[in-house]
């Protein structure tokens, strides 16, 4: 296992990765409450970005509607918890199953009927928007007035019911992010990973070599959907409230994919770097504006937009490939 994970990696990159992990594990002792919540947000986006990257970065299928998997995961686990008292760890497999089923339906319809490229991207938006409006009218989970979980008692941590303080959620998210990283590494180096790569680069060629492209594209969608649903469960129990207008909104889907695109599509570190850059930048801007007393709504997002523009203009492959060259760890971390 360790052999598989470290195979082909440079000692320098392993040392850097170890350092990063040590800093992240130690963070709750070093950071204050505010910084901790920022770190949770960063890890959340790193994780969801990693999940999205399986579909887009590995298999080349552009999904612009990943909010649907977050939302289905969040609503499934939350509804089971509130209505039937089912603990989130039991609700988790159900949440994953629902999201995977949804991913399978979208994937099946799209790939069977030959919906590809821009059309596929817009189909994913359509499903997410359909779900958003559907949940707005879904009275079992309170429709558009929002679905609330009983607020956590912060005096002690209840890991089984996911009620507790931010430190618990932080470590939970850190474990998830690390697990997703390892899973993606394994997937990338697996036979399926190479099939995905072939499909991404040239689908017709991949098919002519005998790869069952339909099946492997389906695997990519279903795995990505299931991984994203886990983030949804976390989202529900961390924020304790769910509104269809927020959870399923297209801006959630876009938010989720900016990280990996900025960081570098198809790379393992891209989603992590992207999440750090974007969330960090956004929080930094907010603090700067508070400090100088210039708090106009929208100003932060204008700056955000300009930064996105600059990155996509100047670093077409994303930040990570460039950064990797800079710190000399290009070999083995494609």
């Amino acid at each position: 296992m360790i052999q598989l994970l470290t195979d082909g990696a440079q000692p320098r990159s392993l040392v850097l990765l170890g350092l990063l992990l040590v800093v992240l594990v130690a963070a709750p002792w070093l950071a204050n409450d505010y910084l901790l919540t920022v770190l949770i947000t960063i890890l959340y986006f790193a994780y969801t970005g990693q999940a999205w990257n399986v579909m887009m970065g590995f298999a080349g299928q552009l999904s612009l509607g990943h909010a649907i998997y977050v939302g289905l995961g969040a609503y499934t686990a939350a509804a089971l918890y509130v209505h039937f008292g089912v603990a989130p760890w039991i609700g988790l497999p159900a949440a994953i199953a629902v999201a995977m089923a949804c991913g399978a339906i979208i994937g099946f319809l799209a790939f069977r009927f030959g919906v590809a490229g821009v059309y596929f991207a817009i189909l994913t938006i359509a499903f997410a928007e359909f779900a958003r409006i559907g949940f707005d009218h879904f009275t079992w989970v309170n429709g558009s007035s929002g679905f609330f979980l009983p607020v956590a008692n912060y005096s002690h941590n209840d890991l089984w019911n996911l009620r507790g303080n931010p430190t618990m959620f932080y470590y939970l998210m850190l474990v998830l992010t690390a697990a997703a990283f390892v899973l993606c590494h394994v997937l990338m180096k697996s036979r399926m990973g190479y099939y995905w790569l072939a499909i991404r680069e040239d689908e017709a060629a991949a098919r002519s070599l005998g790869i069952d492209t339909f099946r492997y594209k389906m695997y990519a969608v279903v795995i990505s959907a299931g991984m994203t649903a886990i983030a949804g469960v976390f989202f529900a129990f961390y924020y304790n409230n769910l509104f269809p207008e927020q959870v399923f909104h297209i801006s959630r889907s876009i938010e989720l994919i900016l990280g990996p695109i900025i960081g570098g599509i198809g790379t393992l570190f891209g989603p992590i770097i992207g999440a750090f850059l974007l969330t960090g930048l956004s929080e930094l801007m907010q603090n700067l504006m508070n400090a100088v007393g210039f708090d106009v709504p929208g100003a932060k997002h204008v700056f955000y937009g300009v930064c996105l523009l600059l990155v996509v203009l100047l670093l077409p492959g994303g930040v990570w490939p460039w950064l990797a060259r800079l710190i000399g760890v290009t070999r083995g971390q494609s």
């Binding site: 359509a126 929208g298 204008v302 300009v306």
Partner: protein, 290 residues
């Protein structure tokens, strides 16, 4: 009585649908030629809507008079955008173009938010409550004017693309990029021109839409999505398809709003979109891509 209500709602939906169609026409023209999906389309439309509101409140200029000037402003905006930012992205992968346009859209939405604030705005024309009565059907005058103006603009575009040399050159770029380069067409300039024309369409549509709905900065992304639905339903790259798609979506939304709850009306549009994508991905009038 009941039949009369349905007829009224249908006519109203049809006329609103024409304005939607003009908006989608802009998107369709841009995609059909430049092969870039304009994710900032609705945001550009809100620019036109706010321009119309400023002209109306500050200068007392009627929005219908401002259709052409504002379309011209949007043309310049679109031309500059394509020439300056989008042309270098033509051969980049889709997600790269997507980020570029999402970033542009984000900047537009939030600049408008800074300038105009989050409140809904509209124009109060003297003819806002006028209506025409044709038999038993009562139609809002503004919708009739907007519908007629849409048809005029669309007709002008058809003439431009079919009969002028520049229009033919643009269609040549759309049909065969390499071939257009080989025969010496300045493809980048034609692309900029096309994006400008698309922007002018959405500008004209925006000015007319301001007569029908209130505008907030957050309306932009909603309109972008609406334009996608229409264009794909009608057929990406097909000009009559965009108009027909617009009318179809306008009708669907109006009817769904009447028969179910108004808040669920766009669910039916998305449902329609999914059906079209699955059973006729090229759209109602679109040609099957090679």
């Amino acid at each position: 009585m009941a039949a009369q209500i349905y007829l009224n709602v249908a006519v109203s939906g049809l006329l609103t649908g024409l304005v939607y169609g003009l908006m989608a026409l802009g998107l369709s023209v841009i995609f059909g030629v430049v092969r870039v999906v304009n994710f900032a389309h609705g945001e550009m439309m809100t620019i036109a809507m706010y321009l119309a509101i400023v002209c109306f409140t500050a200068l007392k200029l009627d929005p219908l008079l401002m259709v052409i000037p504002i379309a011209a402003v949007l043309f310049a905006f679109g031309y500059a955008l394509q020439a300056g930012l989008i042309n270098p992205f033509i051969n980049r992968p889709e997600h790269s173009q997507f980020i570029l346009l999402v970033a542009i859209g984000m900047i537009i939405v939030n600049l408008l938010l800074i300038i105009f604030g989050p409140d809904a705005r509209n124009v109060q024309t003297s003819y806002a409550f006028d209506s025409f009565e044709i038999g038993t059907v009562i139609v809002d005058a503004t919708k009739v004017y907007a519908g007629i103006a849409t048809l005029v603009v669309a007709a002008a575009l058809f003439v431009f693309f079919r009969f002028t040399a520049v229009g033919k050159a643009i269609r040549a770029c759309a049909d065969n990029y390499t071939g257009a380069l080989v025969v010496g067409l300045d493809v980048k300039r034609l692309y900029a021109l096309t994006f400008g024309i698309g922007a002018a369409c959405v500008g004209a549509a925006g000015v007319m839409l301001v007569l029908l709905v209130d505008v907030t900065p957050a309306l932009g992304p909603t309109l972008t999505l609406l334009a996608f639905i229409i264009v794909i339903t009608g057929g990406l790259g097909s000009m009559p398809g965009a108009l027909i798609g617009g009318v179809l979506i306008g009708l669907t939304e109006a009817m769904a709003g009447l028969l179910f709850t108004p808040s669920a009306k766009s669910m039916f549009s998305f449902g329609l979109l999914v059906l079209v994508l699955l059973f006729r991905p090229q759209g109602i009038l679109g040609k099957r891509a090679a």
